[in-house]
Symmetry: C2
Subunit: 333 residues, 2 copies
Amino acid sequence: MVRARPRISDVARLAGVSTATVSRALSNPSMVTAETRATVAAAVKATGYRLNLTARNLRHSRTGGVLALVPNLANPFFSQILSGIAGVLGPAGYNLLVADTRTSDPETLLAYAEPSRADGLIVLDGSLAAESLARVPLVEACEWIPGLQAPRVKIDNRAAAKLAIDHLVGLGHRRIGHVTGPTQNVLSIARLAGTHEALAEHGLTLPDSAIYHGDFGLQSGQEAARQWLVQDPNTRPSALFLASDEMACGLIGELHRQGLQVPRDLSVVGFDDIELIAHIAPPLTTIRQPRADLGRIAAESLLRLLSGEAAPEGDHILPVELVLRDSTAPWAD
Amino acid sequence: MVRARPRISDVARLAGVSTATVSRALSNPSMVTAETRATVAAAVKATGYRLNLTARNLRHSRTGGVLALVPNLANPFFSQILSGIAGVLGPAGYNLLVADTRTSDPETLLAYAEPSRADGLIVLDGSLAAESLARVPLVEACEWIPGLQAPRVKIDNRAAAKLAIDHLVGLGHRRIGHVTGPTQNVLSIARLAGTHEALAEHGLTLPDSAIYHGDFGLQSGQEAARQWLVQDPNTRPSALFLASDEMACGLIGELHRQGLQVPRDLSVVGFDDIELIAHIAPPLTTIRQPRADLGRIAAESLLRLLSGEAAPEGDHILPVELVLRDSTAPWAD
DNA sequence: CTGAAAGCGCTTACAG
DNA sequence: CTGAAAGCGCTTACAG
């Protein structure tokens, strides 16, 4: 037979006090005498009482949860970020809810950004509509929604592109190409713009023929390789900066299959520094994003927002770093 | 000025009906007349009313959430699984909560498996204490907790090991080694046992010197490579079956750095079929686990449990598959 | 079909 | 320091 969960009134009855006193003894011990505290503690133990969080949340007009809106949960890129978020939210007493924005229909999405579902949002998808989110406190992380007023935690994507380009130019490359992320994506746009700018500083240009349109995924890196392979070896890029490591892997894999070598035939710089790419052949030179830190700081910013502190001024920009490995080599025409 | 959220009573007043009628019109439309329905709908629109889920949940004595207990959120292995879970839970109206069991202290962990926090649990960590979970409906996925009575969704790890070993034996290998996962892990144990069994069927054995103790991570694969490298080339394994693709990557990377080639010098079979390893050099032969399906089916089983259906009999075993790529080659001593 | 009222299980301002 | 009571915002058995 299933006994119903004990409620606070069960504890009160057993302890011979009011429910108010039990509540105080539990959540504000200093408000009751040591003796009361002990009596209540004994009654709690005897009944096996555990606080009903839903009831407390209703009373406090809060949900106790924070929702992370992830563009694609299946993408390993987000694991570290979620881990960083969870590491902050858990100890702070918040539940971490996650939802995949790509696989949810707009209706569902609207229902997600709902004050009764989560106390706050961590938005990792820059393609969402600002209006649908406006009802809940939120911070943006990694990506951002143009026009949306909210604290942002991100990297300087243009500066990152400059690191990559400067490195390649320093190695003697003059024909440098770029493999983009999804066309509309804010990161893609920033990284492409940064590539243009950095090349310009060196008196170089990025012709359309050296721009390969990808989507951050493996397949599109492979596709970029195929496009590059059919271009004139004398005029095609001698080096490629890719907007993600995954695409770089796809590209290198395809090049290998076609009998070409990286970096001998093509220098490659990736983006993200996902764990595996230090161990592939060749180990990939890339731009490191502090993914766990991005998650951690986004969560901390949101907690500050929820506790009523003033929203931080300006964006929170985290440093990136060029990690030199073996996928780039000097070049002389 | 901040206007409080409208409540159901605001809608009722405007519509000139009782709160009960509003509630019915919203969650059980067929219980009210079409006219009432229209009046209520208009009042909802006019007030901008949205249901407070916490209140409804309290009333229904449920939380509306399902908690996934993940051993390590930072591990990309779980992204696809979470994605599979989210794909089922979202449409069913449940929130997906996630928590990292490794970074949570036992106290916190106990508080997680709390009926007032989640209606059900999807347990992905086989190292948790059965007692701490017993209070909430749950299913186990991938890993399992010995002694815990709960529906399990998993693969046949022994059969998977047999696929790998049969393949290697078929190529002529006689000295076959195994790189394990963490010693206490149920998957490690099953895969090691499966390796023993499969070798025995071919009249072969797995000497201690051919067992390398890893932890599923990249570094430990690298470490296994170092151990193998210092063993006598004439007696050390000519082929290795590893309990994870990550370890296989770490191992191959280290072998390359030492000037050895896979599969020329060593045949390698991994486990999991994570996306990237199809694109490394050499593309890895491995055992494919249907990760998204594992998550999906675990979520479906839990929903069935929560809806009061009888728990399914026995474990739900999903098929694995040997994916042949280029990291294994014939061998003749 | 609809309404009045009780109740889900807490917390807290108020009074003593 | 403690208690009685109201209330967080819903839903539903009961009555009409």
